[in-house]
């Protein structure tokens, strides 16, 4: 090698081959300086620490989280010597390092997406009341997933659940979740809900859920999205972009399906209410009928009294016409021909006498 004379281009190519062999991919941590985007496509910055500095290059499409000068980051990169002899790192992925920087990056992306209206309440769709077919995106080995499945099995039945097993932490996580979202959203039979769940973790653990591409994919999902990531106090941008946000994976299960015991109890209560209503209606009808019967009886009674009164009056009139009563008042009944010499019969109250008419004279 000592005697080999190389052309400049060959030397650069050989150096790059050696670098690729020795450091196909390296993770380097440092502070960002001189961050700039050229032509809306190419990103340049320097990565430095107390004594060293190295130039970095990447495309904007690889930039999944906001970066700014002064931010401490970890880059996954390949070292490269450019054709003009400048050494740089070609960055494949970049993520903020440390809570403060993660928080700063979170706030920057949140403001940007908020300004675009990705988190507005008007975009939110409601969960179906009783879903039949749902999709779940999670790591099937995660405790949060186990909790979710246990709770939906305890609460409901007859649900078809398709699960996409993905990484929910690390540099690959967001891409895998995006692929799973695309997979379910392009199914011929669209799930009624896509549920994205992951248990608790540090801000760094949950950083996959603050990935810009993932957040946009959730916001544009055809199926209704339900996201339950971390603990109750954790908020990720995926939560904010979802149609429905659950505090935890367990809470996501509670929001997704009703409690069958509660449903049965409620249905029983309603049917019992209907039974009582039927009884009330029967009682009411009985009351109405009773009232009508009473009215009929009253009318009959009134008629009876009226008839009785009429009868009594007639009885009195009749009694007044009784000849015995007239005789009792001192009058007498005369029977026979009232002409002189004729024999007549005179009836008084107490006796009947025979008499002869001596003389008849007209009163007029």
């Amino acid at each position: 090698m000592d005697n080999t004379i190389l052309g400049v281009s060959d030397f650069i190519a050989l150096t790059n081959q050696t670098l690729e062999y020795a450091f196909s991919s390296v993770a380097v941590e440092g502070e960002v300086s001189g961050f700039k985007v050229n032509q809306g496509k190419y990103v340049f910055f320097d990565l430095k620490d107390k004594t060293g500095s190295v130039g970095c290059f990447m495309t904007v499409w690889q930039l999944r989280t906001p970066i700014e000068d002064g931010m401490k980051v970890i880059v996954s990169a390949s070292p490269k010597l450019t054709d003009w002899g400048k050494f740089s790192l070609t960055v494949k992925a970049i993520r903020p390092s440390g809570e403060g920087n993660l928080k700063r990056s979170f706030d920057l992306l949140k403001s940007k997406l908020e300004a675009e209206g990705l988190f507005t309440p008007e975009r939110k769709r409601a969960l179906p009341e009783l879903p039949n077919r749902v999709a779940v995106i999670s790591s099937t080995q995660a405790a949060g997933y186990a909790d979710f499945i246990k709770i939906i099995n305890d609460r409901w039945g007859g649900l078809d659940v398709d699960v996409a097993h993905v990484q929910v932490q690390g540099s690959e996580a967001s891409d895998q979740i995006v692929r799973a979202l695309k997979y379910f959203n392009t199914q011929e039979q669209l799930p009624e809900v896509i549920v994205l769940i992951r248990g608790g973790g540090s801000l760094d653990d949950l950083s996959a859920f603050n990935d810009e591409v993932l957040v946009r994919e959730i916001a544009s999902s055809r199926a209704v999205t339900l996201v339950g990531v971390g603990h109750e106090t954790d908020t990720t941008l995926a939560d904010l972009a979802a149609d429905v946000r659950a505090a935890t994976p367990s809470n996501a299960a509670q929001l997704l399906v009703p409690d069958k015991k509660e449903i049965i109890r409620h249905a029983q209560q309603r049917v019992e209410g209907a039974r009582l209503q039927v009884i009330r209606e029967i009682d009411r009808s009985r009351e109405v009928l009773g009232g009508k019967l009473e009215a009929v009886l009253g009318a009959i009674q009134r008629q009876q009294i009226a008839q009785h009164t009429k009868l009594e009056y007639k009885k009195q009139v009749l009694a007044g016409l009784n000849p015995e009563k007239v005789l009792a008042r001192g009058y007498a009944i005369v029977r026979g021909d009232l002409q002189a010499g004729a024999e007549i019969e005179i009836e008084t109250k107490a006796s009947i006498a025979k008499a002869e008419v001596k003389n008849v004279k007209s009163k007029a």
Binding site: N132, G157, A164, Y183, A267, E281
Partner: protein, 69 residues
């Protein structure tokens, strides 16, 4: 062709309709007992379904750890 067995959701919907009838203007005492019995049977059927029917959980075979070729 035999009629497909109604799902829990369909039964719940049917129960809702029956119970709503009790509060509607269409309510008639003559029909109330039969409707009540229907609702009672439906609750029993839903209860049985909910207690017996299990969820079907299947992990899809698709892999998400690499870009689809």
């Amino acid at each position: 062709m035999s009629k497909a067995k109604p799902s829990i959701t369909q039964k719940m919907k049917e129960l809702d309709e029956l119970l709503t009838w009790f509060d509607s203007d269409d309510f008639e005492l003559e029909k109330a007992v039969d409707t009540y019995k229907q609702a009672e049977e439906l609750v029993r059927a839903i209860e049985n379904d909910l207690m017996e029917v299990k969820n079907t959980i299947s992990v899809v075979s698709e892999r998400f750890d690499r870009e689809k070729e």
